[in-house]
Amino acid sequence: MRLLTHNMLSSNIKGVTNGFPLLIEVEKVVEKQVDFNEDFLRNMFPKIEWKALVEASRTMGYTELPENAESSMLDSDEFLRKFHHALIELHLEEGALVCPETGRKFPVNKGIPNMLLHEDEV
């Protein structure tokens, strides 16, 4: 799972109000190279929750993203490459996503997070 996908998932347990972003527990990270696409990154930038992306990438062992970002940074090739790497090249392969409010874990196996709820959570 890419961090782009992580950036849109939130805990869907009944009663949870602050389910975003999900925390990450890492067992295994893989990197898959993807062609660099500047237009895509420019288009994604305003839609991304930056703080969530920074936190997530740090948990995954990538510490290059600046704490804060603004659109003027998109003129820097160096910034774009880091953004690209964090957003779509880092994959959580094994581990878990954790609800920030309840601590409930959603396991991630073979890169696929299991967001299915138990009966009493719906």
Binding site: N7, M8, L9, M44, I48, I112, P113
Partner: protein, 213 residues
């Protein structure tokens, strides 16, 4: 990519090994799947360089078609792990990147804004009434550009009315009527194939600013 080439690649994908009746697991054939995505791209520009979600992705046919047509990020969601594993190995075979989430579409909670287009062949609701409308409801909340979906032609008026009146769609248009061969996967089907008339729809959701989630 040419339509024929797309259809050929989709025809090479592995499909459900042990289809589950209650989940209405039957694949969208390569003919319909390729045309659905081709129309989305060539008539409306809803695929290339977009973020596309495939709801009830099964073995991944629609999502992978989107990836083949140049979608930048594709996410497949399904309630069934076995299908997701087949979908994931289909993606590997085609050397395509696709993310998957194991979830029940009805309980999906997603940040909006990011997904541009949702493509889906939802359960028609022959097992659980209204299953397709549950999918459509969530799809119209999640997508910011468009939703492509298949629904039985017999439900056309209902689909249109519900989408416009209750799900906040700004437009709901039938692009074409198709014959969908639901193969005889299940013993209770008497005939070999059940030929169902199906509409291919394009829905446009309300724009982000106007949504209240």
């Amino acid at each position: 990519m040419k339509l024929k080439q797309l259809e050929g690649l989709l025809g090479s994908l592995d499909q459900f090994e042990n289809p589950k009746i209650e989940l209405e697991q039957y694949p969208t054939g390569p003919h319909i799947a390729s045309r659905l995505l081709y129309t989305a791209e060539n008539s409306f520009g809803d695929v290339e360089n977009k973020v596309v979600a495939d709801f009830g992705c099964g073995c991944g046919t629609l999502g992978l078609a989107a990836a083949l047509l140049g979608a930048d990020h594709v996410i497949g969601l399904d309630i069934d792990t076995e299908s997701l594993e087949i979908a994931s190995s289909n993606a590997d075979d085609l050397d395509l990147d696709m993310d998957f989430v194991h979830c029940d579409i009805k309980n999906l909670k997603w940040q909006d804004r990011i997904v541009d287009t949702v493509v889906m062949n939802p359960p028609f609701g022959t097992r659980r009434k209204g299953a397709d409308m549950d999918f459509l409801f969530v799809a119209l909340k999640v997508a910011s550009n468009a939703v492509y979906s298949l629904h039985k032609t017999t439900t056309r008026d209902h689909v249109k009315r519900t989408a416009l009146r209750d799900y906040n769609a700004v437009s709901a248009e039938v692009l074409c009527e198709l014959r969908f061969d639901v193969p005889q996967l299940y013993k209770f089907h008497k005939k070999k194939e059940v030929d169902v008339a199906v509409d291919l729809w394009r829905f446009v959701p309300k724009k982000d600013g106007e949504k209240h989630l």
